[in-house]
């Protein structure tokens, strides 16, 4: 983890409201592991007191590529930053996905919308090829398919409006694939997307006796473990629970660790 002042090399539309931001980050880029994130101080974001966390799409040759959707005030201000502008980063942050997958396992990646960008680096760095399931509301929410295919991964797509792939939730093609391969393959799940999707994938892993590594998306403050904003309830061994910081102990947790009962239940 370190502070690095970096410059924007490229910043362009990526389609469907997404923006691609490429940064020269010679110190942080080589350290990034799949599933980790960087905390960005958005230039000229006046009256804002927090950085914004971004997962990493690509990290190579001393460069970081971030893929984001302009959804709020912060990302809309970031969207107009120009090449040559200076950006302050803290990173890499968080634990990231485990990469020491036993050779007989088949990695099964499950992404909701923007989660595809966050899982791409994992596909790139895992020692074995696998399969990826991409879900979204509509075809424009399905990202990076060609990037995965270029790595030799099979991509299954589901959209809620049926505009691309199977109509429905990503769990549709996921369940069909699982039913077909559960006897001849040993899957290990890696997921990034909405909490409801993570919970579904986690439940299947627990029921089937497999492992599922889930990247949780929590509202974040400091990003380094100090402010205790982004806490997640984890199961303790004695049946009780404790808070873990998604920025520090997470954002990746194994399905059995997480106690799902909503964002706002009583502590």
């Amino acid at each position: 983890m370190q502070l690095e002042t970096v410059s924007i090399i490229e910043h362009r539309d990526y389609g469907a409201g997404y923006r691609l931001l490429r940064l020269a980050a010679p110190q942080i880029a080589p350290q990034v592991r799949p599933g980790q994130f960087v905390h960005v101080r958005i230039p000229r974001l006046e009256a804002s007191v927090l950085r914004r966390p971004f997962s990493v799409f690509k990290a190579e040759n001393g460069e970081l590529t971030l893929l984001y959707k302009s959804v709020g005030h912060g990302t809309s201000v970031l969207a107009v930053a120009a090449p040559g502008e200076i950006v302050s980063l803290i990173g890499p942050l968080g634990n990231g996905f485990p990469l020491d997958l036993p050779a007989d396992r088949t990695p099964v990646l499950v992404a909701g919308g923007y989660g595809m960008a966050a899982l791409y680096l994992l596909a790139r760095r895992l020692p074995q090829k696998g399969v990826v399931f991409a879900g979204g509301r509509s075809t424009q929410d399905v990202l990076c398919v060609e990037d995965f295919e270029a790595l030799g991964w099979k991509v299954h797509i589901a959209t809620q409006d049926g505009s691309r792939g199977v109509r429905g939730l990503v769990t549709g093609p996921f369940d069909a694939w699982l039913a077909e391969h559960r006897t001849n393959l040993a899957p290990e799940f890696f997921a990034c997307g909405p909490n409801a999707m993570l919970q579904e994938i986690g439940a299947r892993a627990i029921a089937g006796g497999w492992r599922a590594w889930l990247s949780v998306d929590r509202h974040m403050g400091c990003g380094v473990g100090a402010c205790l904003t982004c806490v997640v309830k984890l199961q303790d061994t004695d049946g009780t629970w404790f808070w873990a910081r998604s920025c520090k102990e997470g954002p990746v947790f194994e399905a059995r660790q997480i106690r799902w009962n909503g964002e706002d239940d009583e502590a």
């Binding site: 502070l3 101080r41 009256a47 904003t229 808070w243």
Partner: protein, 305 residues
Amino acid sequence: MTTPDISIKLAGIPMKNPVMVASGTFGYGPEYAPLVDLAKLGALVVKGISPEPWRGNPTPRTVEVASGLINAIGLQNPGAEGFLRDYLPFLRKFDVPVIVNIWGRTIEGYAAVAARLSQAEGIAALELNVSCPNIKEGSKSFGSNADMFKRVVAATRAVTKLPLIPKLAPDVFRIGEFARIAEAEGADALAITNSVPAMAIDIETRRPKLANVTGGLSGPAIRPIAVRLVWEAAKAVKIPIIGIGGIYSAADALEFFIAGASAVAVGTANFLEPTTALTVADGLRDYLARHKLGSIHELVGTLAC
């Protein structure tokens, strides 16, 4: 001209500079140690410690607003024993005064945590958290009720020889009254101020944005409030004041010194720029040189009005 001297001695504690990091915004030290040289801080005030571990509030716990952050963390902490076991040994490796913010749900709780921490080596002072707006079970009323405040300062004073620094609440009618009580009960310094009770509402769902409904506002939005409180309190007492509230730059900090603070603490700014305290200290040195002042003491309480 020689470099101005910004070292201070506050409540008997020598500090390399008068810029500390405020409780709750810097964890317990290890969180920011990879990014900030802790030995360059004036002092490090760790997140509030209670006698026993405390889980704090449900989520969402913070919400960003214009020029501020509302938090309702609820004082989650590992308890006195957890702090002494897991964090103090780490902090002792650095040449920086460690001030521990303490709180209890009862007067006995305050005394218990103060007594326990006073037995440890490596703690420079205790900051008395009587003003965190996020504890329903009493802590708040210690800061806004003069009689309760007097009792908690007295009870803590009785069990510790460490410098005692009550942190005064912003939402009191007359801050001078609380400052005088603290001084009379043997406080060595005052920290002014804490976050300001606040709330934010999601207008679509008509629900509060924080699980705790209300929280404490910090950041630039409260700086003018804090400057006024420091000015009022400084007129009431002789003990030194640590000015806290929305400090992001040396210019921000200088307002507090001129208003009467002998030191300052950087809080919410740490989340945006972890090295803020160091850049503030550098900026103070530059200001003193520019104004031909030999030390920071020459600036304290020099408001012309």
